[in-house]
Each structure stands twice: as structure tokens, then as C-alpha cells.
Assembly symmetry: C2
Homo-oligomer: 288 residues x 2
């Protein structure tokens, strides 16, 4: 089944556009890590299991597993397995991109049949079509990709907003995303070639939707990164479809604000709130 | 010790600018894999060990390990360990880049103290300074990075050559690389903030050197990717320093053209030839 159709159907069925970023921070001076008394795997899996009814997908951010070496990669395998067992869509937030056989190997790693295989992966397109096409070719196997188009970090404009013959760089990439995905638009009107688009620039979101009418847009900046629910859904299509919104820290670390609750319980409560807020934000703009 | 100084000193000591891409292909219809009778680890380690006297660094391309799941990641650990034991500089070809704590986690993964830690890493800067600074901060620990500036694949121009107010996108990035690295120029006159620059566009190489006078430039396209030795060294500084040149398949799979030799023996022969050709190409342009 077409990945975009499947994601849209699951989103309707669960009445949720929320996705959980399974991002176990490293526990430095400025970030929390794995809670006391928990292993990495138990922490991540408790959060995924608790949030499952409220979310449509899990999106492990690979950096946090790679930073922990082999033990981290083993935990990633468990998170992906659990997500699949719970019927969640799995998205490897890897932002990979290289050329030729190398990109093909990344596509095999994250959209193939190995340990780290997910339903979709995030991709960095700086190297052009050579970087993305090995991933695009996997849409025939029911897989999807989300190309990094416009991000929401403070310095994102350094290259993404550089003006190029009348339009910023990110719009050039957005136009290509639309091209790559054009042949694969499913029954939902959406393409498995999606885009990553930061939530903190709603004007960009609306422009992105014009440029990529068929893309499923993954919005990463909800919750801890500061965007409101209304901002987060700004790129939705007029019927409210075509968007999923990620929250990581605000769910994973909700227990820090609710010391009476277990990590999973606190995450579930935060996920419920997130789902409700997002659905409410979708309604006025997209009703009737 | 400053990473760029160390790399330059090793390069002088060994009289070599050659680096070995430890890229075990996946063994598909169009690419060779691990030779018969070899394990992944034994294949990679035999090649590294054999080539060690001729090369200054090893650069495992992570995609080929990730595609093999946990087993692949374990092999990566062995390759890195062996490289270090043999006194080679280790470069994780990861092309990572993300924002905030995520990029910091990638920096920890590849320039920290964990299983996958190397002396340097390749970085994708599309997300701006937020993506690169966590890596740049590691130069104080003697680590280095190579920022993807201009690549040599067929579609590399799609975004990299988009004109932006009079100069192509890749030049905007090159100028920023020079800025990021400016404070860290070592005794060699080189900065640990380097650049990846494809070998097949020698005009770009000379322009890149103008824009990044202090960068160590990693040229990936030698050998199987078709660039000549003269093209490959086009970005060297006038004294012949500031450049390292990678070859992967032409060394790893040299045995396919020399069936009488073991993989390691064939790779050594190819590495010797590569080193000699590169040194010869440096000489006329940079003599006196």
C-alpha cells in the first residue's frame, strides 16, 4: 500500500496527527537522560507503549542512539520492533543523503529489510537527485521519505533563505520534492515523497503547501521547540490532511514536570493533550 | 594537538595524501560485496592493514555498515579500532547534520568517546551553524570535521550550483566554512574545519581554495569515480599541503581485477600506485 495513503488512513482512524519523537537525550549538564532506575530500552519502550493510542507514528532520532554506540543501536532496534508490534508507523529520523551506491546503502539501511528498517526515513537532499532517488525508489515497496526542506532552528536561514533568482533556496528544494513525488500520488491525493518543515515559520508552511500540494509534511518543532498548535498545522491541506506533527522532549520528559507520575504515565497525559490541541487547531481553519 | 596540524604532519611523515574509503559494498546485482570465504570484519580489516603504510587515514562510509544492521555497526567498531591501532587517522564519513541537541548527539557519537568515535567526521551544513557548531566545538579536543561543500555526483549542481546573488550556493557554504574554521588555524596554517569537495570539477577546486585558504580539503572522487590525479589535487595549497584524496572501490575491490592476489595484496598494490600518482601530480604544480 502507498505509504502516504496508509499514513493518512491511520491518521483518520486514530483521529490523530501526533507523532512521538523517541529521542532519549544524553543526560548532560543541560539535558536530561535516562531516568534513574531505567535502562535505555525500558525508558524508550515505556514511553512508546504508553503513547501508542494517541499517536500515529514513532520517529526515533538516530543521533541519540548512535551517540550511545552499539548499546544505543540495539535499543533503536527494540524501539522500531515495538512500534511495529503496536501498529505504529515508524519513521527513522536520520537525515541521510549521499550519492550513488552510498545513498542506496542508506535506503537499504532504513527502508530495506535489516535491523534498522522503518516505514519511512528523513532525507537531506543537498547532493541533489542522486541523494534522494534511491529512497524514492522504495516507495514501490510501500515506503516513504521526508525531505528536509525548511527547518525551524535559529540559523536555518543561513543557507535555506539565501535568495536564488527570486526565491529562497528552500523553495528550490520544495519544488524538486514536488517533482520527485509527482508520479506516486495515491488515492488520498498525497505522495509518499514528503517534506520536513519547521513549525516556527507558518508563512513558510503555507508557501510550502502551494509548492508541494501532494506532500505529507512532517512538522518537527512542536512542544519543546516552541511552536503553537496553530503554527504547527499551518501547512495542512484544506481538508486538514497531509500533515503530521512531532513532539519529542515534551512527551519523553513530561515526567520531570509531574514527579508523581511514571515516565510513561506523564508522556501519555502530554500526548493526549497534544493530540487534542492539534485536532482543535485543525478544526477552525479546515472545517466545512 | 590541532587536528589539521596532526593530519598535515602525518601526511608529510608518510609522504602520502592518500586515504582509504573502507566501504564494503552491499553485493547487489551491480556491486560486489564481501569476497567469498571472508567475513565482513575480516575483509575490511585485511584491506586496512595492508594499505596502512601507503595511506594517512581511513574513512569508513557509514552507510555500508548501517545497511548491515547491528552486525555492520560492530564491524565499523572493529575498523575504527584497527585504524587507530595502526596509527592511522580515522574519519567517519557520516555526512551528519541536524540542530541543537541532535547535532550535539551526532558530535558525541563520532567525535566523542563512544564506540563510533573517530578523529574527524563529515558534516552536512544545510541547517546552518546550528548543525555544524557542535562539531566545531570538538576541535578543542583535537578533532576535525569536513563540511560538504561541493560534490562530484551527476546531480550535484541541482542545489549546489543554484545562483544566489552572483555566486552559486556552494560558494556561500564555502565562505561559511572559512568563517567557522578561522579561529582554529594551527601551526600548519590549516584549520580543523575542513571541506569535502568532489574531484571532478577542478575549476571548483581552485575557487574553493580561494574561498577557504585554511581548509583541509577532502577529495572523495578519485579512482572508481573517475577523476584523474591531477584533478584530484587541484585544490592543494601552493606548497602542496591542505589536501587528502580518498579512494574506496578502486582499493577495496582491486582483487577483482587481480584474481591471483588476495584482497589485501591487491589493495596494497593499488594504494601504492595511487599514492605515487597523487604525489607525482602534486609535484609539477607545486614545486619550487
Amino acid at each position: 500500500m502507498n505509504f502516504a495513503d496508509r499514513l493518512a488512513a491511520e491518521s483518520r482512524r486514530k483521529h490523530s496527527i501526533a507523532i512521538l519523537g523517541v529521542d532519549p537525550q544524553l543526560g548532560t549538564a543541560t539535558s536530561a537522560g535516562v531516568p534513574k532506575g531505567y535502562t535505555l530500552v525500558r525508558f524508550c519502550c515505556e514511553i512508546v507503549e504508553a503513547c501508542a493510542p494517541e499517536i500515529v507514528a514513532v520517529k526515533p532520532q538516530l543521533a541519540f542512539y548512535e551517540a550511545r554506540g552499539i548499546e544505543g543501536m540495539r535499543a533503536l532496534v527494540e524501539v522500531i520492533k515495538l512500534g511495529k508490534r503496536l501498529g505504529l508507523i515508524t519513521i527513522a529520523d536520520a537525515k541521510r543523503g549521499d550519492i550513488g551506491t552510498t545513498s542506496a546503502a542508506y535506503a537499504e539501511a532504513y527502508l530495506g529489510s535489516g535491523d534498522f528498517s522503518c516505514d519511512a526515513v528523513t532525507v537531506n537532499a543537498y547532493q541533489g537527485s542522486d541523494a534522494t532517488l534511491p529512497f524514492v525508489m522504495r516507495v514501490c515497496d510501500g515506503r516513504g521519505l521526508f525531505v528536509l526542506v525548511r527547518t525551524s532552528n535559529p540559523s536555518s536561514g543561513e543557507f535555506q533563505d539565501v535568495p536564488t533568482e527570486g526565491r529562497p533556496m528552500w523553495e528550490v528544494i520544495a519544488a524538486r520534492v514536488n517533482g520527485w513525488g509527482g508520479d506516486f500520488v495515491g488515492e488520498s491525493g498525497l505522495s509518499p515523497v514528503g517534506a520536513v518543515l519547521g513549525a516556527t515559520y507558518p508563512l513558510h508552511a503555507r508557501r510550502a503547501r502551494e509548492l508541494m500540494p501532494h506532500a505529507t509534511i512532517l512538522v518537527p518543532g512542536y512542544g519543546a521547540q516552541g511552536a503553537s498548535a496553530v503554527d504547527a498545522v499551518a501547512a495542512a491541506r484544506s481538508d486538514g490532511s497531509g500533515i503530521i506533527v512531532n513532539s519529542s522532549r515534551a512527551l519523553m520528559y513530561a515526567y520531570l514536570k509531574n514527579p508523581a507520575l511514571k515516565p510513561g504515565e506523564a508522556a501519555l497525559e502530554a500526548a493526549r493533550k497534544m493530540r487534542t490541541e492539534l485536532n482543535a487547531a485543525l478544526t477552525p481553519a479546515h472545517a466545512a
